[in-house]
Amino acid sequence: MAKNKNLELLTNSLNINNPVTVQVLGICSALAVTVQLEPAIVMAISVTFVTALSNLIISLLRNTIPSRIRIIVQLMVVSFLVIVVDQVLKAFMYQLDKQLSVYVGLIITNCIVMGRLEAFALGNKPLPALLDGIGSGAGYGVILIIVAFVRELFGSGKLFGCQVIPDGMYNIGYENCGFMLNPPMALILIGVIIWIQRARNKELQEK
């Protein structure tokens, strides 16, 4: 039973409790970094790293944190992890870090992170908290990657920066959809994903 519950923590976020499509959190960065797959994947990994480790750390500290300053303590743990991510990216993936620009720093304000800390990590043991963090980050990441895949494929005819739509297609009049490269299209795509998900899941439909 306990095993199943742990597994659910991981899988729920991917589906019926997805942070982006069900809880509608983290939309801002989902619009900004999904023009290409590569930054989207790096962002997904970064957010997963931050949600997982911050959940774990807060859960380990949960009995020692004075409740009056708990939000500040949470913020500090989150900011600490985000700075680690930012510094590592600057050292090892400089071009990508420039592309992600402010959005790495803005992981601090991503509601998913603080939301999971308040709602889950403060009241649960370290292992479930870690799994919940990984699940939430992955749930966010999956949506990011789906949106980025569609946007890069139809917006610039590429995947991971390599051309996949053959020249022949362009010769017979195919054109890239420039609108895909603009943030509004990401919002529309997320809307479409929410629509498909709700149509298939009876539980998510409002009466």
Partner: protein, 232 residues
């Protein structure tokens, strides 16, 4: 122990702050060299880009050595004050009237000489900077790159695009008589074609950023005027 106690709260917060600060300091020290190497490589790539040499972060250092024959720093009178390549590379441009520090990178490509100079100015929201390469006649702009700190996404940040930077290629610094340094002028409403020697089309929706670019290019190049006179 009572975790809601005032003194416990204060001690808890203090220990937390010190611990986090210590770890981050160590991390920052450990990664500093790598980060600086990345920043230097980007600078090399930007300088190479103004003379149309495409490079990646892997071969930037090598291409830089091949292309940049000489790097010096001159002062406001055009006198050379630093002639060491590395020191010149690490010198930031300073155009204050007395005691200017003006780095010049002499590049050679396909048998032609170019003078690449750094640019520094203010955009709408924050700093803007870049590099410009001038042909050996010390009059024609051969290429520019711009970058910015915090210009408006989608409007002012277009100064980093190739389309905008391409507009500067072939523009003249001096007027037709060749006596007065005019530099570039940005025009609103697509009127740049009325001034083929100096006109640049402003970015629509980003007038103040465009003006910032114009002032940056003109102010910085004007500072180099004494040097260009001696170089010609």
């Amino acid at each position: 122990m009572n975790v809601q106690n005032n003194s416990y709260t204060v001690i808890y917060a203090s220990i937390m702050v010190v611990a986090v600060a210590a770890i981050l300091t160590l991390l920052s020290f450990g990664l500093k060299d790598r980060q600086q190497a990345n920043i230097d490589n980007e600078k090399r790539q930007n300088i190479l880009k103004t003379v149309n040499v495409e490079s990646t972060s892997d071969n930037a250092a090598q291409l830089f050595e091949q292309t940049v024959k000489e790097a010096i720093v001159v002062d406001q009178t055009g006198k050379v004050i630093v002639s060491d390549k590395n020191e010149a590379f690490n010198t930031a441009i300073d155009i204050t009237e007395n005691g200017s520090k003006l780095p010049v990178f002499k590049c050679e490509k396909d048998g032609k000489t170019f003078y690449v100079v750094p640019l520094k100015g203010a955009g709408l929201w924050g700093k803007i900077w870049g590099y410009a390469s001038i042909e050996s006649d010390c009059n024609t702009i051969a290429g520019v790159v711009f970058d910015h700190e915090s210009e408006t996404p989608g409007l002012g940040d277009k100064i980093t695009t190739k389309e905008f930077q391409q507009l500067f290629v072939g523009k003249k610094l001096y007027d037709e008589g060749g006596s007065e340094l005019k530099g570039v002028t940005v025009y609103k409403g697509g009127l740049a074609s009325t001034d083929p020697l100096h006109g640049i089309d402003a970015l629509s929706g980003a007038t103040l950023t465009s003006n910032g670019v114009q002032n940056m290019v003109n102010d910085c190049l004007r500072a180099y005027e004494p040097y260009f006179k001696t170089a010609k």
